[in-house]
C-alpha cells in the first residue's frame, strides 16, 4: 500500500512539473485572432449583436479584461512587472518619467506610423498640441490617449456654477448675469433666509468640489497652476499679492456665512450630493455633459416635485477681471498602451479596429447598433430603430460592447447625438460651452504635466497639499491679520525648496 502510494505521489509530482512547464502561448496564426482589451467594465457579451458584428468584420475574438478602478495602479504595475499584459491595456495617471523609464526598458511598444490609419491620425491631430508632448518620445508615440469629445466647440473646460434660480427669484435676487460679488451676496442671502425650508443653519449658501478653494484663491490671478510663467520665467503663484487677496475673499465669504461652514472636512462629491438634496444654493461644479446629466438626474430623483430647468440654472458668472472664465483643456483623458510582446500582425489588427472605432461609422455602430439593422443614415442624420416603451420613449439597449468604444475614445461627445437624451439638457450644455468660448480661457501649460525634475517630483505636490490644508485651517480659526502673518511664515518656510523647484523648472 505504501509503495503504491509512493508511486502515485511521484507520478502526480511529475505531472505537475510537466504542467508547470506548459504555458498559455498566444498564437497569432490561428484563424480567429483573440485580442484582449483591459478596461473597467465587464459584462456578458454573448447576446450582444454589435460585439458579434465587430468580431465578424475583423475576424477576431475581442475580450475585455476587467480592471478594478480602485486597484488599477497595483494591477497595472503587476502587469508591467510580470509581463502579463492585455494586448491593449489601459494605463492611467502615469508621469512622464514613468513613460520614459518604461519605454527605455522595453515595456511599452512604440506605435507604428498612423498614416495607415486615417481616422486615428485625424483624431490624433485633434488632440494636439498636447498629446504629442505627453505621449511621444522623440517623435515616437507610445500611448493612445482617449479623445474626449465633451466640448464640441474646442478645447476648454466647462467649470460651471449651478445655482437655484427659483430661490434667487424668491429672494428677489435673480439676474441674467452675476458678478463674483453678486454670487457671494446671493449665497449669503440663501444661507440666512433658507428659501429651501431646510431648517435654521441647514441650508448652505455656496459650496463646491474640493477644487473650489482654488477658484477663490486664484480669483484675482490669471494662472491656473501653482507655478506659472512671468516674464519668461516660472514663479510660484502663492507669492503674488493677488493670491493673498483671494484667501481674504474666501475669508470674507466664510465669515459672512455665504461659504459652507464645514468646508475643511468635506470630501469629494459632498457638494454635489448636498446640492442634489436641496441643501445648497450655489454649487461650483462641472458642466461637462456626463457631469451635467448626472447632476440633473440625481437632483430630479431627490426633488421629484420640482422641475429641473425651472429651478436650476448655470450661472453666467463674471469674474473680478470683468470676464467669464474657464481653463484650456486637453481634448483627451488617460491612455492605452500596446502589449510589447505581441506580433506586428496583432498590432496592425488592433489598430485597424481602433481606427474603425474612431471613424464616424464605427462610433455610430458601437453606439447605435448594427448598421441597417438598428440604425441607418438618413440625409446625414442617424435614424435609430431601437425599441419604444409604453410611454413612447426610445429605449436605449445599452449594449455591453459599447465599452469597446473606449479603445479609441471616451464617448462623451456622443451624448449630443443620443436620441434618448432630453433636447433641453443638450441645449443647456452646448450654450454653456459656447458662452465660455468668449471667456478668458486661461492657457494650459503642458510642460508642467510632463516635467519630471527630481525636486519637482519630490516637493511640488507636497507644497500644494500643505498650502490647501493651511488655508482650510486658517479660514475658520484666524482673523485677517493672523492669516496674513501665518501665510507669510508658510511662504518663508518653503522658500528654499520652492527656489530649488523653480531653478529646476527654469533650467
Amino acid at each position: 500500500m505504501k509503495k503504491l502510494l509512493s508511486v502515485l505521489l511521484f507520478l502526480s509530482l511529475s505531472v505537475s512539473f510537466v504542467m508547470a512547464n506548459g504555458q498559455n502561448e498566444k498564437t497569432d496564426n490561428q484563424d480567429r485572432m483573440e485580442i484582449t482589451f483591459a478596461w473597467f467594465d465587464y459584462q456578458d457579451l454573448t447576446n450582444d449583436p454589435v460585439y458579434s458584428y465587430i468580431c465578424e468584420k475583423f475576424n477576431v475574438d475581442l475580450k475585455i479584461q476587467q480592471i478594478a478602478w480602485g486597484d488599477r495602479k497595483e494591477q497595472m504595475n503587476l502587469a508591467f512587472a510580470s509581463g502579463d499584459f492585455a494586448d491593449f491595456m489601459l494605463w492611467e495617471d502615469f508621469t512622464r518619467s514613468e513613460l520614459l523609464n518604461f519605454a527605455e526598458n522595453g515595456l511599452l511598444r512604440p506605435f507604428p506610423s498612423l498614416d495607415k490609419y486615417p481616422n486615428l491620425k485625424a483624431m490624433w491631430n485633434k488632440m494636439q498640441p498636447y498629446a504629442e508632448e505627453e505621449y511621444s518620445i522623440d517623435g515616437v508615440q507610445y500611448a493612445w490617449p482617449k479623445f474626449n469629445g465633451s466640448n464640441p466647440f474646442g478645447g476648454w473646460w466647462a467649470h460651471s456654477v449651478y445655482y437655484r434660480a427659483d430661490w434667487a427669484k424668491e429672494l428677489g435676487m435673480y439676474k441674467e448675469q452675476y458678478t463674483f460679488d453678486d454670487m457671494t451676496e446671493l449665497a449669503k442671502a440663501i444661507a440666512e433666509k433658507d428659501p429651501g425650508n431646510n431648517g435654521a443653519g441647514a441650508t448652505v449658501g455656496l459650496m463646491g468640489d474640493t477644487w473650489t478653494l482654488d477658484n477663490f484663491v486664484r480669483a484675482y490671478t490669471d494662472n491656473t497652476r501653482p507655478y506659472y510663467k512671468k516674464n519668461g520665467k516660472y514663479v510660484w503663484g502663492a507669492r503674488d499679492p493677488e493670491f493673498l487677496k483671494g484667501i481674504m475673499t474666501l475669508k470674507d465669504a466664510y465669515d459672512s456665512g455665504a461659504y459652507y461652514q464645514d468646508f475643511y472636512v468635506q470630501k469629494g462629491g459632498d457638494a454635489e450630493q448636498m446640492f442634489q438634496s436641496g441643501l445648497v444654493g450655489v454649487h461650483m461644479g462641472n458642466g461637462a455633459p456626463k457631469s451635467y446629466e448626472k447632476q440633473m438626474n440625481n437632483w430630479v430623483e431627490n426633488n421629484p416635485e420640482l422641475d429641473w430647468f425651472e429651478s436650476v440654472e448655470l450661472m453666467d458668472l463674471i469674474w473680478p477681471d470683468g470676464q467669464r472664465r474657464t481653463d484650456a483643456a486637453q481634448a483627451y483623458w488617460s491612455a492605452s498602451v500596446l502589449n510589447p510582446f505581441i506580433s506586428d500582425e496583432k498590432v496592425d489588427k488592433i489598430l485597424q479596429i481602433v481606427d474603425y472605432l474612431a471613424s464616424p461609422e464605427g462610433m455610430k455602430t458601437v453606439f447605435y447598433g448594427v448598421p441597417g439593422e438598428h440604425w441607418e443614415d438618413v440625409d446625414g442624420k442617424v435614424e435609430v430603430k431601437w425599441d419604444i416603451d409604453e410611454d413612447g420613449n426610445i429605449v436605449d439597449p445599452k449594449w455591453p460592447s459599447r465599452n469597446f468604444l473606449a479603445m479609441a475614445q471616451l464617448a462623451d461627445g456622443l451624448i449630443y447625438e443620443d436620441p434618448t437624451k432630453p433636447a433641453d439638457m443638450i441645449d443647456v450644455i452646448k450654450n454653456n460651452y459656447q458662452n465660455l468660448e468668449q471667456a478668458n480661457i486661461r492657457p494650459l501649460d503642458i510642460y508642467l504635466n510632463t516635467f519630471s525634475g527630481e525636486k519637482w517630483l519630490k516637493n511640488s505636490g507636497v507644497v500644494s497639499s500643505e498650502q490647501d490644508e493651511l488655508i482650510k485651517m486658517m479660514i475658520p480659526t484666524m482673523d485677517k491679520e493672523e492669516i496674513k502673518k501665518t501665510f507669510s511664515e508658510f511662504l518663508d518656510a518653503w522658500e528654499t525648496r520652492i527656489d530649488e523647484i523653480l531653478a529646476e523648472l527654469n533650467s
Binding site: W69, E74, S82, D84, Q273, Q276, S277, N286, K294, N298
Partner: protein, 291 residues
Amino acid sequence: MNKKLEKLDIFLLIILSIMALLILYPFYNGLVISLVSQKEYLKNPFMLWPKEITLKSYQFIFATPRILNGYKVTIFITVIGVIYSMIITVPLSYAMSKKFPGRNIFINLIIFTMYFQGGLIPFYLLVKNIGLIDSVWALIWPIGVNTFNFLITRNYFQTIPPSLEEAARIEGANDLYILSRIIIPLSMPVLVVIALFYGVTSWNEWFNSMLFIKNPENQSLQFALRQIIQTMDNIRKEAVALQLPEFLTKNQFSDGIKMAATFIVMVPIMCVYPFVQKYFVKGIMVGAIKS
C-alpha cells in the same frame, strides 16, 4: 444568592453601557444609512430612526450580479479550500511530528517561508505558468498550507502518547491507518480550530482575487465588496465618473450603497461567529502546550 449591586458595580455598568453604545452605534448608523435616501441622510447624518425607509441601495447591489457571484465563489473556495488545506496540512503535520532523518531540515524550510517569501511577482508568474490565471482554483491551490496552522497541528500531534501508536503497530496498522483511525479522532479539537482558521482566511480572501482574477464572475465576495466601496467612493470625483460605466454613475446614493454592500457581506458571518467564537480563543492555545 442575590448579589447586591454596589455603587462601583453601577458605575461600571454605566461605563460599559456607554462603551457598548459607542461600539454598536456605528453599526446601527451604517444599517440606517443603507435604508434611507441620499436626501434624508444628508439632512440628518446622525439619525436614530429613519423617517422613510427605502431599499434602493439593496436593489442596486442585487441588480448587479457581483455580490451574488461573489457569494458563490467565496462559498466554493471556503468549502473546497478548507478540505484541500486540511488534506495537506494534517498528513504533513503528522509526518513532521515523528522523528526521522532530516526532519528538522524540512521543518526549518517550512518555517522559513513564514518569514521570507519569494515575492509578489514570482508568485504571480508561478500561478500564471501553472495556468491558473482567471481561474477560481488560483484562490485555492497555491495557498494550501498555512505555516502557523501547521505548527499548531504538529505540536498537538506531539502531545498524543506514542504508546497508542505503538500498540496499533503491533496489531499490524500502517501509518495511514494510525493517522485516520487513531490520531485524527483524538485530535478533533485542533482540527476543528484549524479548519475554522482556514475557513475564515478563505472567506476573507480578496488579495489573490485582485491579482489573479480578471473575470468578475470569478471574483471573491470580499473583492467584489471592495470594488463596490472603492467605486462608490471614487464616483464622487468627476474624473472618475468620466471613465466608469454609466450604470454606476447614474442616480446612485454612494454612501447608502457602500453600507448596503457591507451589511450584505457581514451578516452571514455575524450569524455564524457567536457559535464559533470560543474555538478561536481556544485555538491559539491548543497547540501551544506540550506534555
